[in-house]
């Protein structure tokens, strides 16, 4: 029974996706629908609407309820990659309400600007079910923010800082799967200003600040554009890998949390000398480490699909030789880190990139000259396969034996396929 229901649901989604053209080539223009709750809000969106077209090349329409005088909502939603709800759709007739509900259930890209339950009268559980939070009054009684902190996330690619003097609504009771990406502070108190969430198989972004003045702000326009790209699963051109040394679970203190703009995330342990694990998803939540005195390890969002534990998988001379690994730091080349190790006296440089599929990890090694061959000990994986290139594979081992140096790669491919 359950199986039949799942199959039926999958069929509906497939039909819907087929009808809407989701899955079009990532190079095609992103189709964005701005949804305003009323005519006044729709007019406030003009600058944002224009910027998404002229600045980012999106196919953009502003739609709304039949009472809002904008483009028909149901049709626009059916043909869009990402919907950007400004506060919410407002009062809807039953057909429009059904279209919005179908859109949210289909796991399509969704960006909400200044989400408010009152703007979703036909979805009474919008805040808890969709946003994953509860709104309640103004943060710090409307006092000006003393800090605005952007956490590492592709959405902020090329945006060093976002600023606003606006009164900030306070959201609390964030759901477990909500990942905060922007935080505001007044004195001792903090409040979420933006977060991302993966729900119903799709991606959701919520930017709490949302007022007419911001819609004309180029930084905010870029923020919305990049939020739309991320929600659609499209690459963000300005995004760079996020790199943070911190206290990671199941890793030596001071390991690196690294996420690539299109995934995955990985934990590089400079003491053990390898990638302890790879997860599918976004950057880690560092607040457990930062907020308290006895900070807990960073929190990982997403499923881990690759692990290795043996001490120093890359060894010089022979695969069983004693570990001899020195971490020498890293260089950022256009924001992409290249890590430097010395293994048995031989210089080794490593960079990370997305693999064949965006959620896969490509480890690219550059090896300096040296007579000692480099042996790679591979650990069996259940959720990933490891494809080596430029190495001579020998069962669970592989060797690089080029005295002049050269390159080899390891691609860690997830077996289960991607989480959208």
């Amino acid at each position: 029974m359950k199986l039949r229901r799942a199959w039926w649901r999958a069929l509906i989604v497939l039909v819907f996706l087929g009808a809407t053209g989701v899955g079009r080539a990532a190079t095609s223009a992103l189709r964005v629908t701005l949804v305003a709750p009323d005519r006044a809000a729709a007019s406030e969106l003009a600058a944002l609407h224009s910027a998404l077209i002229s600045g980012f090349g999106f196919e953009t329409v502003t739609a709304g309820a039949s009472t809002a005088g904008a483009a028909p909502l149901a049709g626009a939603l059916a043909a869009t990659d990402v919907a950007v709800f400004v506060h919410g759709p407002g009062a809807l007739d039953p057909a429009e309400a059904q279209a919005v509900r179908a859109f949210l259930a289909a796991g399509r890209g969704c960006v909400v600007l200044g989400g408010a339950g009152r703007a979703w009268p036909t979805e009474p559980d919008f805040e808890t079910q969709v946003l994953g939070a509860r709104a309640g009054g103004a943060f710090a009684d409307g006092a000006a923010l003393t800090l605005i902190n952007l956490f590492p996330h592709p959405i902020f690619g090329g945006i060093p800082q976002f600023d606003t003097e606006l009164r900030i609504p306070l959201f609390t009771s964030l759901a477990e799967d909500v990942q905060m990406i922007m935080e505001g502070t007044v004195g001792e108190a903090t409040a979420p200003l933006a977060w991302v969430r993966r729900r119903a198989g799709g991606r959701l972004v919520h930017l709490v600040p949302a007022e007419a003045r911001l819609f004309r702000d180029p930084t905010y326009q870029r923020l919305v554009a990049q939020a739309a790209l991320w929600a659609a699963g499209r690459p963000i051109p300005a995004a760079r890998p996020a790199v943070q040394r911190t206290f990671m679970p199941e890793a030596t203190p001071g390991s690196f949390a690294i996420t690539l703009p299109n995934g995955p995330g990985l934990c590089l342990d400079p003491v053990r000398g390898g990638v302890n694990y790879v997860w599918e998803g976004d950057f880690v939540d560092l607040r457990p480490r930062w907020i308290t005195k006895e900070g807990a390890p960073a929190r990982i969002f997403g499923e881990v699909f690759y692990r290795e534990k043996a001490w120093q998988p890359l060894r010089a001379g022979a695969p069983g030789n004693p570990p001899d690994f020195q971490f020498r730091g890293y260089v950022l080349r256009d924001g992409v880190p290249e890590f430097h190790y010395v293994i048995g006296g031989r210089d080794v440089f490593e960079t990370f990139a997305s693999g064949r599929q965006p959620g896969d990890l490509l480890r690219r090694f550059r090896v300096g000259p040296g007579t000692a061959p480099l042996w790679l000990n591979l650990e069996p994986q259940t959720d990933a396969e490891v494809v080596v290139s430029g190495l001579e594979r020998d069962g669970a081992r592989a060797v690089f034996a080029v005295p002049a140096g050269g390159e080899f790669t390891l691609e860690i491919r997830r077996r289960k396929g991607l989480i959208p």
Binding site: L145, T146, L147, I148, N149, L150, P160, Q161, D163, G187, E188, A242, V243, Q244, R245, T246, F247, E250, A251, T252, P253, G254, D269, P270, V271, R272, W290, I291, T292, K293, E294, G295, A296, P297, F327, R328, G329, Y330, V331, L332, R333
Partner: protein, 703 residues
């Protein structure tokens, strides 16, 4: 067993007894203390005062202290066991109250305090620097490039630079809790992060670091929350210095993923009762060591025996100074001149020393090996966790203190240290410098800027309320000469004081100088109370004609003590202004002769005068406060502790008075000397009580 071991064990047993009392009947009898702290002039309640008590009865608590912050109405409330305490009432911008408080069992006590305003306001101004809204203001390190660019790091792992126009840019990100830095150039910053010393370079000239080079990471780490790496200071040869603190073992997280082989067992195991009083432990390799990295990148474990070497500084003469934080084996916070291969007190780091790791040195051997602190920073007025020492090299742009040391604290305090070499070794005086004026908490890293101001990096995140207590401030001199004690130097018979400005005739009045001295115990308990504290009579004062200098001669000058000098209120500048700070603490490790061991004391003899007949009733109170923990309320003593049964046939009370008085005053076996703690009259009163309450019938003392 050595005398030191006996002493240690005795302390432990006292602690046990106190803890037991605290945990049982005494806790039930805890006395509530309450009251209001007010401005002495206006009567207005002070909203940011704290009341601090420390005493043996609080041995089970951190630093043997109980601290209460007043509420919005200036009211405080504390509950402590009966006992004898050192009391401090402190508030920014106000003079402290520091006194003894004997808390008797029974009814709650209400006691209000009035604090007078500190003088000297306005001579030094504290300014808060605006920071970019994108910078989490947990500023944990500050430095200047040779060109004068301000560089800071923060706990969130960023490095920021501010150019001459005041524009900030984020130079680096992604570090694991930046904590101290030096900036050799506009494109190069050396920064401490928890796991390593890192060199950041901007190699492409875009103003942003693109190279993060690991310079040193040869010590162990476990992930414990208290596992800080401290620094950074650089000498004229390009050597940099930093240190590794110990973990707070058993508190917080230790994870199986560690760098280095772990050794959790203590080097000098705790043999006392209950839990280890101070859990700080060198668990991973080289924790509790200072390190040197040469300009060529050579890593050298430099010195050892540090608990939490929070402040690291290099003098203009390229000498290393380090502050350490009060706890086990560090009786109160200290500033130390650190030399290569020196041992500075905490035994646990000896685990990693090739010569000592297997020797298990005794306490006597540790004491002999230990280099005493250059300057003690006495608890109470002189903060709790001292920060980075920096030298006034501003050429007079920071006032008259050229060449002296300034260091901050986790509390809102700046301290000043005036060193001298005595018999070839540094020692000197510590002074409170700035208490208030808007100075915030958490100022553990400092740097003098090209403008002559002292910049203070501040963060307390996770440790206390952060509101308004993070960021970056600078202390600017107004140009007006402060009225202050400029120098306190040791002489053959006392101290030579020098003021910053000519003082009035009262500076030559001996009654205006009060001096006391005390010791600290070097032991595994969590810090030490003052012991053998006694007044030292001032016998002669000779003021210089220019009104700047005064020679203060003492009845007795002994090495090994900390001397507390207080200047009276009548000593004013010739323009009528009072002293901004009238107190100094001089650590007299040695005399001008080079003597380091105290000789026979005339002060004990002077104290041995009994003015009235002994009073057993008063003696009972003294016994209860000072003796009952070991001798028990019924006088039967304790075999476990090793105290005798006064009521037994072989009672020590069979001894004559003069012998018993000498034992109480001078100590015997495990019992400490009370001669410098209790006046002779009190000792006589106690003996009267012992005889009245416990002397067995027929046990007449021998003549």
């Amino acid at each position: 067993m050595s005398a030191s071991m006996i002493w240690i064990r005795m302390r432990l047993h006292v602690a046990l007894a106190v803890l037991l009392l605290a945990g049982t009947s005494a806790l039930a009898q805890a006395v509530r203390l309450s009251g209001v702290v007010r401005d002495a002039d206006t009567g207005t309640p002070l909203r940011n005062a704290q009341v601090k008590l420390e005493g043996a009865a609080l041995a089970g608590r951190e630093n043997s202290q109980a601290i209460a912050r007043v509420n919005a109405q200036g009211a405080y409330r504390l509950e402590v066991p009966p006992g004898e305490y050192q009391l401090w009432v402190l508030a920014p911008d106000y003079e402290e109250v520091g006194t003894r408080w004997v808390v008797a069992p029974g009814q709650p006590v209400e006691r209000d305090f009035e604090l007078g305003k500190l003088s000297g306001a306005g001579v030094y101004k504290v300014e808060t620097l605006p920071l970019p809204r994108a910078m989490i203001p947990e500023v944990s390190g500050v430095a200047f490039t040779p060109q004068g660019t301000l560089v800071v790091t923060n706990r969130r792992g960023e490095v920021w630079m501010r150019n001459a126009a005041g524009d900030w840019r984020r130079f680096a990100t992604g570090l694991y809790e930046g904590f101290g830095l030096v900036a050799p150039g506009e494109a190069e910053v050396l920064v401490i992060q928890r796991p390593e010393l890192t060199r950041l370079r901007d190699s492409d000239g875009d103003g942003i670091a693109d190279r993060y080079e690991t310079v040193a990471d040869q010590w162990g780490i476990t992930g414990n929350y208290h596992e800080f790496t401290y620094g950074l200071a650089r000498d004229g040869k390009g050597n940099v210095y930093f240190g590794s603190g110990m973990v707070s073992y058993g508190r917080g997280r230790e994870i199986p993923w560690a760098r280095g082989e772990l050794q959790a067992a203590q080097y000098h195991p705790w043999t006392g009762p209950g839990n280890v009083p101070d859990g700080h432990r060198s668990v991973a390799p080289l924790q509790g060591w200072m390190f040197q990295v040469s300009a060529a990148g050579r890593f050298t474990p430099f010195a050892f025996g540090f608990r939490q070497p929070l402040g690291v500084g290099v003098s203009p003469d390229d000498e290393l100074f380090v502050s350490d934080v009060s706890g086990a084996w560090v009786p109160t916070s200290t500033l130390m001149h650190v030399e290569r291969d020196g041992f500075y007190g905490h035994p646990d780091p000896l685990k990693w020393h090739p010569d000592y790791k297997d020797r298990k040195l005794s306490v006597d051997e540790l004491r002999a090996l230990r280099r005493p602190p250059t300057v003690y920073l006495p608890r109470g007025l002189m903060g709790t966790s001292p920060g980075q020492p920096v030298w006034d090299t501003t050429g007079g742009r920071f006032g008259p203190y050229a060449g002296q040391i300034f260091l901050g604290d986790v509390t809102p305090l700046l301290m000043r240290v005036d060193l001298e070499k005595v018999a070839g070794v540094y020692q000197g005086a510590a002074f409170p410098f700035l208490r208030g004026g808007g100075l915030r908490l958490g100022g553990m890293h400092n740097a003098f800027g090209p403008d002559g101001a002292l910049y203070v990096a501040q963060t307390v995140r996770g440790w206390m309320s952060t509101e308004g207590n993070e960021g970056l401030q600078r202390v600017v001199w107004s140009g007006e000469t402060p009225v202050d004690l400029l120098h306190v130097k040791l002489t053959a018979r006392g101290f030579a004081l020098r003021y910053t400005t000519p003082m009035n005739v009262s500076m030559g009045d001996a009654s205006q100088y009060q001096v006391k001295r005390f010791l600290y115990n070097y032991h595994p308990l969590d810090g030490s109370l003052r012991v053998s504290e006694t007044d030292v009579p001032v016998t002669r004062v000779q003021a210089s004609a220019d009104g700047l200098g005064v020679e203060v001669e003492l009845l007795e000058l002994q090495p090994g003590f900390v001397y507390e000098l207080n200047v009276g209120r009548k000593v004013l500048s010739r323009t009528g202004r009072p002293l901004a700070n009238a107190i100094a603490y001089y650590t007299a490790n040695r005399l001008l002769s080079g003597e380091t061991k105290p000789g026979p004391s005339r002060l004990q003899a002077a104290a041995a005068q009994v003015a009235r007949p002994p009073d057993a009733r008063r003696g009972e109170e003294i016994f209860r406060l000072n003796c009952v923990a070991c001798h028990m309320p019924d006088g039967k003593g304790s075999k476990q502790i090793g105290t005798p049964d006064y009521t037994a046939a072989e009672s020590p009370l069979k001894k004559p008075d003069h012998e018993l008085l000498a034992i109480i005053a001078g100590g015997k076996n495990q019992m400490p000397a009370f001669g410098n703690v209790l006046p002779a009259q009190s000792i006589a009163d106690v003996l009267a009580y012992l005889r009245k309450a416990f002397q067995p019938p027929g046990a007449r003392p021998a003549p």
